[in-house]
Amino acid sequence: MNFGFSEDQEQLRLQVRKFLDSECPMDRVRQIMASKEAHDRGLWTRIAALGWPALTVPDAHGGLGLRWEDLVVIAEEAGRTLFPTPLLAGAVATRAIALMASERQKARWLPSLASGDLIATLAVLEESDDLSAAGVELVAENNGEQIVLTGTKMFVPYAQAADLLLVAARESGGISLFAVPADAAGVTVTPLRLIDPTQRAAQVTLEAVAVDPSDRIGEPGSAWSDISAVLDAGTVALAAEMVGAADAALRLATEYAKVRKQFGHPIGRFQGVKHRLAEILVDIESSRSLVYFASWAVDHQPDARAAVSMAKAYASQALDRAGEEGIQIHGAIGFTWECDAQLYYKRGRYCRNLAGSPEYHHERLLAAQGL
């Protein structure tokens, strides 16, 4: 029994923190969020050189062969600085390939995913916003030689930065997964404008996009349980990012409460302020415990649904609250564009219903126990 990070993992955390503090501080984040670019390619090249996209790629395919708990270390640090990056979207797609693809397909994609030359993302959710298999209505039709995909995906993370889209489609009465080049004929990627300007997502329309049967990942019509497990791992990484963001929002508000004086004292001396900050810390530490455990569970437990749902539900509460209170403790300045508190608040509002609302995950938690 050991519920802590190893020395290597702590080293990784330090490396990531040092890199992000110097290379992507908040003024850089603000530049990226204001830019029309899908992401900062210069930064991508540099984190690729550091091996971040390679982290969870199996070593047989040019990766570092590390586990999801290692990725969670990066995710938490990325959340702290609101680092705008397709890294986590790519890690989810990478996990889908590593879990579901044939050896041949792995050899085709994994090495360039590891090197950062290829950016992929997983496209599952559609306009219905239904997270279950029933939400996948995009159709795959076999015309004898090729498979033709038609339909629309919504909220595809970093689709505008991706070279390769992994598209869930309805086929043979079930769900299949297809690898579709983003520049294939018939693919239209329309960026969405998000409440959190540091994030990127797009609507992806497939208009009779023809792919080869060899581009199908996994068996026809039976990919859903694997897709679902991969989405769960993605949810844990997201929750880790949220915990990091919540912690940063708390630190920001705490530092302000130490220097802002009213009635002759720092406002952090008044219990009305300090108790709210303490409550946020309790939420953060609690969700941190759940997230770390879930990051272990997705690699070691046959069914990690309960652990994942608890982590996401609690992290939503923690960040949502840290973001909101962060603004309130700053007072009017917290409402200004120049104050970073608003960015954490926006991240909270954006993530709360992403990959399932707290209410959705509460229901799923009970359902997973047969209740």
Binding site: F3, G4, H275, L277, S289, F293
Partner: protein, 396 residues
């Protein structure tokens, strides 16, 4: 990270389970019994203590030199988990003796004090109460005024304590007194070990809102206690107390109690009907149950993070207030949710016709303050977090 247990630890778990199968004196409902019912079962509980003692499982992590089990932290966790799961009584009857008086004596006591006081705690022959709070000193404990004046080789104690849990059933009290009124308030305090039958000591029970009398006022009218009964140095009382309260904040046993409550609440929600359908089908009941489970699991896992720190030889300090606050919220919500599930039946207490589960949820709804207020109120825990973990300034 690694959540598996070694072969040796698993073997220990099997040993614990076998022991519990043979020795657990509880019926399924006993762990929720009130104080009165526990007293009726005293002979059975003493036999349980004896069986535990023979295994070295009372004072499991105490050093062997003082008669403890010399056990490791992981084994202790396994022991507490399995005991909780089996809904067996606590691991030893001398509750406060085991929880913090014993650890305090082991850390600060003289050899003579260890010889005198530790064995009766292990054997459940002597029970302890804790004389901390006073009428004017609750959350601001260090402002306490109960005084002890040196008179030769004795202290003469005068003053009053209150909210003293189990005072009526205890043979000894661990008492905080002011020995130096001139010193800064934290430094003028000493810790004394006081026999409850000392002349001049008077106990007046206080009735709580649940109708039970779990605590008392204790008056000291020139009570004489030998100087050798001082625990730690003169003026070291505050440090001794902080050590004791830190022991109180370790949370493994509390988590298993919460896990059991949660399991019972789920059963209650399946069994009871609310607005014409099983309560478990009510979306709001479901949300609250799931939220509660999430908090219990967070508490369990945060406890494991602390345990890992301890295993690595690191100090665990103010951060234990995190679980204390989670627990406080859970204690209140358990009673509230149960009564909501029961609807009108939520009004029926023990002894009433048609009372659900013999009124145990009503008791919870009327007893939570003893867990939530004792050992530092939630507001004090928040001060601890804000000041020690976030570095915010002290208030007042």
């Amino acid at each position: 990270m690694d959540f598996s247990f070694s072969e040796r630890e698993e073997a220990f778990r099997r040993e614990v389970c076998e022991f519990l199968a043979a020795n657990n004196p509880n019926r399924a409902s006993d762990s929720d019994d009130d104080l009165e019912a526990s007293m009726d079962r005293l002979p059975k509980l003493l036999a349980w203590n004896q069986a535990l003692l023979e295994k070295g499982w009372v004072g499991f992590h105490w050093p062997k030199e003082v008669g403890g089990g010399g056990g490791g932290l992981i084994e202790q966790m396994i022991l507490k988990q399995e005991t909780g799961k089996a809904r067996a009584p606590l691991l030893g009857l001398s509750y406060m003796g085991l929880a913090w008086v014993g650890p305090g004596i082991i850390k600060y006591g003289t050899e003579e004090q260890k010889r005198r006081f530790i064995p009766p705690i292990l054997k459940a022959e002597e029970h302890w109460c804790t004389g901390y709070s006073e009428p004017g000193s609750g959350s601001d404990l260090a402002s306490l005024r109960c005084s002890a004046v040196r008179d030769g080789d004795h202290y003469v104690i005068s003053g009053q304590k209150t909210w003293t849990s189990l005072a009526m059933w205890s043979q000894w009290m661990i008492l905080l007194v002011r020995t130096d009124p001139a010193a800064p308030k934290h430094r003028g305090i000493s810790c004394l070990l006081v026999p409850m039958d000392a002349p001049g000591l008077e106990v007046r029970p206080i009735k709580a809102m649940n109708g039970e009398t779990p605590f008392a006022e204790v008056f000291f009218n020139d009570v004489r206690v030998p100087v050798v009964n001082r625990l730690g140095a003169e003026g070291q009382g505050w440090e001794v107390t902080k050590h004791a309260l830190a022991n109180e904040r370790s949370s493994i046993a509390e988590v298993t109690a919460m896990v059991n409550h949660l399991e019972d609440l789920k059963r209650l929600a399946k069994d009871r009907r609310r607005d014409g359908r099983p309560a478990i089908q009510d979306p709001l009941v479901r949300q609250r149950l799931a939220r509660m489970q999430t908090m219990v699991e967070a508490m369990r896992l945060t406890g494991l993070r602390f345990l890992t720190k301890q295993l690595r030889g690191e100090e665990v300090g103010a951060e234990t207030s995190v679980n204390k606050l989670i627990r406080a919220e859970l204690e209140v919500e358990i009673g509230r949710l149960a009564l909501d599930i029961e609807g009108r039946y939520g009004a029926l207490v023990k002894g009433s016709p048609e009372a659900v589960d013999n009124g145990k949820w009503q008791r919870q709804a009327l007893t939570w303050p003893s867990y939530v207020i004792g050992g530092g109120t939630p507001n004090i825990q928040k001060n601890v977090i804000a000041e020690r973990l976030l570095g915010l300034p002290h208030d007042v």
